[in-house]
């Protein structure tokens, strides 16, 4: 796992090694083991390496034996051994044992279709000298990041936006449209980012730059097609699912360094850890995050899972102060405003993993999206059920079964529960039915936007932009699948795998590996009938059946608790935090021009008085604070990493 960067000058002038070196320097946290630069006239690739596979031979950027191709690659190709064997049989000769070289050979053989053969998590760029073509690609689900921007004279790309901002030709500017998207969906809509002119390559897409033309193409699409010619016999499905998941886990243990696992105390990570146990003998180290605040703490379940699976367990205990203390650094890594503090404890967790000497962890992300674990699916199901008999007084009572961990929901009277979740005429036909309550609630935060921002956003509807991106058959999809699609195609890469995933783990050079996101598992899960994913109101039904005997019964039976962390309270817990006051002072807010200073002041007063407890107030505080920190760290006071000297590059070539 690593960080990549690159420059391609359109006019043919040579790439400046100092500029490219500065870009790589910004990614040192992702790849502390080695750094490399290769410049071929007007094309330069840089790399910061976290050595995991073929420690000695996998140095990057790598060139093919005839120097026709060069590659800079971040990620892992888990089926590289099988691919290498096939390629060797077809006459390809390898100089290293690395997965990087396998991609080069695959490209030589299959060109842009090489990505169809990969099972893994990647972003890479290949310079094809003979065809004068740049080919870049990002994995199917968006585990690994790839950002790019254009100046008048060059294409500039990198694993993180901070690398792109180290290029002197790139303008640093916040994009209000990206902000509007985050304050609706909790994430930007690819290819948008929070920054004007900086784009992300969407998951499942490749980018080609050739003959002055930049093209972004989809090579894979997430498809939910339940029950189309697939067995609906649960026993058969369970068997096949377990077989796939076991293999997905097995190939994710391939590494020349020890592999650990995250253990959250929930079903998903306990199952993936259990599957590691099935295919790997010997000691296994597991890691988890616990909370001082009992409302969020799952330590008891984590200990139980660890004991059951006989792992050596280590955990970090997170306090309110910890969250507030690391928050500015967390935002430096998310590179995006966030509405929840949930990434912060994961930042602390990856630090623990790193301190324990581990570079790789297997984790359970993706399961809730694919197997129907989220409460938003349940909420939509109840609302839909109720809407069929709006006069029913019994049906809305089911709403009381939602969100058992959220006190403000639990304390509601039936009349208000019904009012909050009421289905309006026409809602049922809306393909966004499941997500409208969440998006509408989040959109209320825009009341804090300044008049300038509102003027700039006048006439812009983020829902329309999303609608335009959806597959043509989205409107005809099963409603449960529509909901799953929105979670898997947008929130998963846009927030879970990025702000909570790659960026938090890589802040301390830790690589996450996700068996549930093996594309074979994803494609299989997408065909399972919705009724077997959520049977009545029992979430992840089929997965729970698969987990029997592999996971403690108590963990299968427990009510699912989504991973959360204390939000606003972390910043108003007695300890005076200068950066919160400075960043959100009336003058700072006025100067930044994004939010209304008086309204922000009112929000702060409400928190200071201890009167702010609600979801909306908490999201507003975290969203406004993180946006202000983004503005400060990336626009107003961007800090370049210290210049790297040439001896700090282990691999440096120019021609």
């Amino acid at each position: 796992m690593c960080g990549l960067a690159g420059i391609l000058n359109f006019g043919g002038e040579p790439v400046d090694p100092e500029v490219l070196g500065d870009m790589v320097a910004m990614l040192r946290h992702r790849g502390p083991d080695e750094r490399g630069l290769v410049i071929r006239n007007s094309v330069g690739f840089g790399h910061a390496r976290l050595s995991i596979i073929d420690i000695a031979g996998g140095r990057q950027p790598m060139q093919s034996h005839n120097n026709e191709l060069m590659i800079t690659f971040n990620g892992e190709i888990f089926n590289y051994l099988e691919l290498r064997e096939d390629l060797a049989r077809a006459g390809h000769r390898f100089r290293t044992r690395s997965d990087t070289e396998v991609i080069l050979h695959l490209y030589q053989r299959y060109g842009e279709h090489c990505v169809d053969y990969l099972n893994g998590q990647w972003s890479f760029a290949i310079w094809d000298k003979r065809n004068r073509k740049l080919f870049a690609s990002r994995d199917r689900l968006g585990v690994r990041p790839f950002f790019y921007a254009c100046t008048r004279d060059a294409l500039v790309f990198g694993s993180e936006i901070k690398a792109i901002f180290a290029h002197p030709g790139i303008v640093h500017d916040l994009d209000p449209h990206g902000l509007e998207q985050i304050f609706t969906f909790w994430a930007t809509l690819p290819p948008s980012t929070p920054f004007r002119g900086v784009y992300e390559l969407p998951p499942g897409h490749s980018l080609v730059l050739q003959g002055g033309q930049l093209t972004v193409r989809r090579y894979w699409r997430l498809q939910f097609e339940p029950a189309s010619g697939v067995s609906s016999d649960p026993e058969h499905l369970v068997e096949e699912l377990l077989e796939l998941l076991t293999d997905a886990t097995r190939i994710r243990l391939r590494a020349d360094v020890p592999v650990g696992a995250y253990l959250s105390g929930g079903l998903d990570s306990t199952l993936t850890t259990s599957l590691i146990r099935r295919v790997h003998s010997g000691p296994l180290k597991t890691f988890s995050v616990g909370f001082e605040d009992r409302d969020y703490d799952e330590s008891a379940f984590q200990r139980e899972a660890s004991t059951f699976l006989e792992t050596e367990h280590d955990s970090v205990r997170c306090t309110y102060d910890d969250i507030a203390d690391v928050f500015p650094r967390v935002i430096w890594h998310t590179e995006m405003p966030i509405l929840r503090t949930a990434p912060a404890p994961l930042f602390l967790l990856s630090r623990l993993v790193r301190e324990d000497g581990f570079k790789v962890v297997v984790t359970g992300e993706g399961s809730d999206e694919l197997f129907g674990g989220y409460d938003i699916y349940k909420e939509a199901k109840i609302r839909r059920f109720w809407a069929k008999q709006p006069a029913s007084t019994l049906r809305p009572r089911l709403l009381g079964r939602l969100y058992p961990y959220m006190q403000d929901i639990q304390k509601q009277s039936p009349a208000y529960l019904a009012a909050f979740f009421h289905v309006r005429p026409g809602d049922l036909e809306d393909p966004f039915f499941s997500h409208l309550p969440r998006w509408e609630l989040t959109s209320r935060l825009k009341m804090f936007f300044s008049d300038e921002i509102k003027t700039e956003l006048h006439g812009y509807d983020p829902l329309e932009e999303l609608r335009a991106q959806l597959p043509p058959d989205f409107g005809r999809m099963d409603p449960f699948c529509q909901s799953q699609f929105l979670e898997t195609a947008y929130l998963l890469p846009g927030y879970i795998l990025s702000s909570q995933g790659d960026r938090m783990a890589m802040a301390h050079a830790v690589e996450g590996r996700y068996p549930f996101l093996d594309h074979r598992v994803v494609s299989f899960a997408a065909t399972i009938p919705a009724t077997l994913k959520m049977k009545a109101l029992n979430e992840k039904h089929i997965l729970k059946r698969a987990a029997r005997g592999l996971v403690p019964d108590s963990i299968i039976a427990r009510h699912k608790q989504p991973y959360r962390a204390p939000d606003g309270r972390s910043f108003f817990n007695g300890k005076h935090r200068e950066y919160v006051q400075d960043t959100l002072s009336s003058s700072s807010v006025r100067d930044a021009g994004l939010f209304k200073p008086d309204a922000v002041n009112g929000l702060l007063s409400k928190f200071a008085a201890g009167h702010a407890n609600g979801t909306k107030d908490n999201m507003a505080l975290v969203g406004i604070l993180s946006t202000a920190l983004i503005m400060d760290q990336f626009i107003l006071n961007f800090r370049r990493s210290p210049h790297l000297c040439s001896h700090e590059f282990t691999n440096c070539a120019a021609s």
Binding site: D408, Q412, Y416, L441, M447, K596, A599, H611, T615, K616
Partner: protein
């Protein structure tokens, strides 16, 4: 009654709209306009109980009583006019 409306409006504007009150009509539904979310109701009830020293029963937690400035004012007036037995002693 007018002063009650004024008091309650001030609370709603300060607490839920953070001072941005230009467009709030006293008859506007808090729910329809997204002014109050699920937690907001609890905040509102706590405020009413504390400020007016009234007790509010579960069956009174309905939009008819609480869903606009005017309804709130009428509800508070009604509660205050009730015999002392329903007030917090």
């Amino acid at each position: 009654m007018q002063s009650r409306v004024h008091e309650l409006r001030s609370f709603v504007v300060k607490n839920f709209l953070f001072g941005e009150d230009q467009r709030l009509d006293n008859a506007d539904s808090f729910l329809d306009n997204g002014i109050i979310d699920s937690t907001g109701i609890l905040e509102l009830v706590m405020y009413l109980q504390h400020t007016y020293e009234i007790e509010i029963y579960d069956e009174e937690l309905i939009p008819d009583n609480l869903d606009s400035v005017n309804r709130l004012a009428a509800f508070v007036e009604h509660k205050l006019a009730m015999p002392a037995v329903s007030k917090v002693s």
